[in-house]
């Protein structure tokens, strides 16, 4: 376990620029811009009467909107990480060094998968939390300037913050489980072809879709079974008609327990299990390929 943690730590050192430093810089810039706007009196709060009426709702929407941005950043980043990291040990002949260590190829690749699905989401979760603090401060400043009930906002927004934070953690965990086979699919190809695995990972299923449509046209749903399955698996269950949509059109504060229940109900857990087995098999095959190749 100590070795596994050390291997994850080295992934952090190698990729901290994209998943730690860049988010921190973005958040620091957000705070700096807010501070400068406030100090220089360029925060035109008076024009936004809605703050006066619905500061909590503005906070929740702002927090969720920024977190959604981070979630997209995470999904894109993890795909690039998978494509890069599963190949990166070949860079500058470093594979020979890693092969001289008493760690199996499977363990090394699993540490990379763990980095993609645990460490990086954890770092992005921190960025989400800091973004929530940013929105909290922003709305607090606006509310205090427009004469809203600041006392109520401070306590209500605090509870809302906790509810949203817990929900975001669940979303991150669920989305990593849901997208695990896709991450492993890109990563598995990367062992052989490096960052070209991203186009290759799209090309292979597209060719399969094409073949199905050419040879078995009309025997299945529009677009074919493969196409329908892939589009179903690519769509995160919570994005449409979930608790989020219901909450948005209501006046209730965000409720983590209702969100969690809705999320758990909406996820196809059989597909999650199939995806996990698929990911495991892909990483195992990738490790066997890596075990047999020392070329750079």
């Amino acid at each position: 376990m100590k070795a596994f943690a050390a291997l994850i730590h080295r992934e952090f050192i190698e990729h901290k620029g994209a998943f730690f430093l860049a988010p921190m810089v973005i958040i620091a810039l957000m705070f700096i811009v807010l501070g400068l706007a406030y100090v220089s009196g360029r925060l035109d709060i008076e024009d936004y009467g809605i703050i006066n009426a619905l500061p909590l709702r503005i906070f929740e929407i702002g927090f969720l909107a920024l977190s959604f941005g981070w979630w997209l950043y995470l999904l894109g980043g993890v795909v690039f990480y998978a494509a890069d990291s599963f190949w990166a040990d070949k860079r500058a002949n470093a594979m020979l060094f890693w092969k001289s260590m008493p760690q199996s190829d499977f363990k090394i690749l699993m540490s990379k998968l763990a980095t993609a699905t645990l460490l990086i989401p954890g770092l992005i979760f921190s960025a989400m939390l800091l973004s929530g603090v940013f929105v909290y401060v922003l709305v607090l400043v606006m509310a205090s300037t427009t004469g809203s009930n600041v006392g109520f906002f401070i306590s209500a927004a605090f509870w809302s913050y906790l509810n949203i934070a817990v929900s975001l953690l669940l979303v991150l965990a669920a989305s990593m489980l849901w997208y695990l086979p896709f991450i492993a699919w890109v990563a598995g190809h990367a062992v052989a072809v490096g960052r070209w695995s991203i186009p290759l990972s799209i090309l292979i299923p597209m060719v399969a879709v094409l073949i199905e449509n050419v040879f078995f046209r009309g025997m299945g749903p529009d677009g074919g079974h493969i196409w329908n399955y892939l589009t179903h698996r690519l769509e995160f269950p919570q994005l449409e008609e979930g608790y989020g949509e219901e909450w948005f059109f209501s006046t209730q504060a965000f409720d983590a327990s209702a969100f969690a229940l809705d999320l758990i109900m909406r996820i196809d857990w059989l597909q999650v299990a199939i995806g996990a087995v698929f990911a495991f098999i892909v990483v195992y095959l990738a490790s066997e390929y890596r075990r047999r190749t020392i070329d750079n």
């Binding site: 070795a3 050390a6 080295r10 500058a92 002949n93 001289s100 760690q103 199996s104």
Partner: protein, 293 residues
């Protein structure tokens, strides 16, 4: 199999596509020896080392410390250290991060020893590896390897691209600081003259076959170099069937295998050929002595 053999190989074959690069090597390497594996580019040195290190699968049988290296590479690396390319250290790490990482993933690595080995060098613990010169990276890699309590150390062209002073320092350090306990060392290098002083055994490989495998003492007894200035004596020397002949600055230099030195002394100046001369000589004939040392 010899009782204390660290490495045993029988019928070791390896093909890349249709091309067979190892043609059934048989050898044993006993514990506590310093072996030099010498051959031309493409002769099969690195493939042989890769088979020993479990980096490639081969036909035949190979055992390192009693284990099948390809099947159990990760476990084997607890007792085997190797440098295949000094530039292979992960460049994104700082020196202290590298030491911390290895101490967590290698049970036989001593961070203390590694730091000691760096004492007196210009390498700072907070330096990024990518900012070190090639010579410094070689020193660092050697420090890492020497801080591993391994039974077998394999070095594949460890000083490639380094200048002469770094190369000499590298081997001196290796001999003085590492070979103090009973360890086995296997080295391949093109600069064979630089390691000759430390070798106990030598193996020449040509086109995937071992053409010489013997102890250095035996090499010294078996092979002789004769330098002749008189053309008539040179002609007589040719009658003794030299394995190699060339002309250097007007003198005839001949290398003999198993010819009585007393007989040669009458014809000219006799000495023991150095390894590089012997290598050049033996690379040109079918086989020298493929039997084990």
């Amino acid at each position: 199999m010899t009782e204390n053999a660290i490495i045993t190989a029988h019928g070791l074959r390896k093909s890349f596509g249709r091309k067979e690069v190892l043609h059934g090597l048989d050898f044993e390497i006993p514990a506590g020896r310093i072996y030099g594996l010498v051959g031309h580019n493409g002769a099969g040195k690195t493939t042989t080392l890769n088979a020993i290190l479990g980096l490639t699968d081969c036909e035949g049988t190979i055992r390192v410390l009693g284990e099948d290296p390809f099947a159990r590479r990760a476990q084997l690396m607890e007792n085997v250290a190797f440098i295949s390319d000094v530039a292979s250290l992960p460049r994104f790490l700082r020196v202290r991060e590298l030491f911390a990482l290895i101490s967590n993933i290698h049970p036989n690595f001593s961070q203390e020893k590694a730091r000691d080995f760096l004492t007196g060098t210009d390498i700072r613990m907070d330096a990024k590896i990518k900012h070190l010169s090639k010579g410094m990276i070689a020193q660092l890699h050697l420090a890492v390897v020497m801080a591993i309590d391994a039974k077998l150390l394999v070095l594949d062209e460890p000083t490639l691209g380094l200048d002469i002073s770094y190369r000499k320092r590298f081997y001196r350090r290796l001999l003085e600081d590492y070979m103090t306990e009973e360890r086995t060392l296997l080295i391949t290098t093109h600069q064979v003259d630089e390691i000759e002083f430390m070798l106990s055994d030598i193996m020449f490989i040509r086109d995937g076959e071992l053409i010489l495998h013997m102890q250095m003492e035996t090499v010294n007894e078996k092979f002789s170099q004769l330098v002749v200035t008189d053309p008539a004596k040179a002609e007589r020397a040719r009658g003794l069937r030299p394995v190699f002949e060339e002309t250097r600055f007007g003198q005839t230099v001949l290398i003999f295998d198993g010819v009585d030195r007393a007989e040669l002394t009458q014809l000219g100046q006799v000495s023991t050929p150095n390894v590089s001369d012997l290598f050049v000589a033996l690379m040109q004939r079918p086989t020298a002595n493929p039997s084990a040392a």
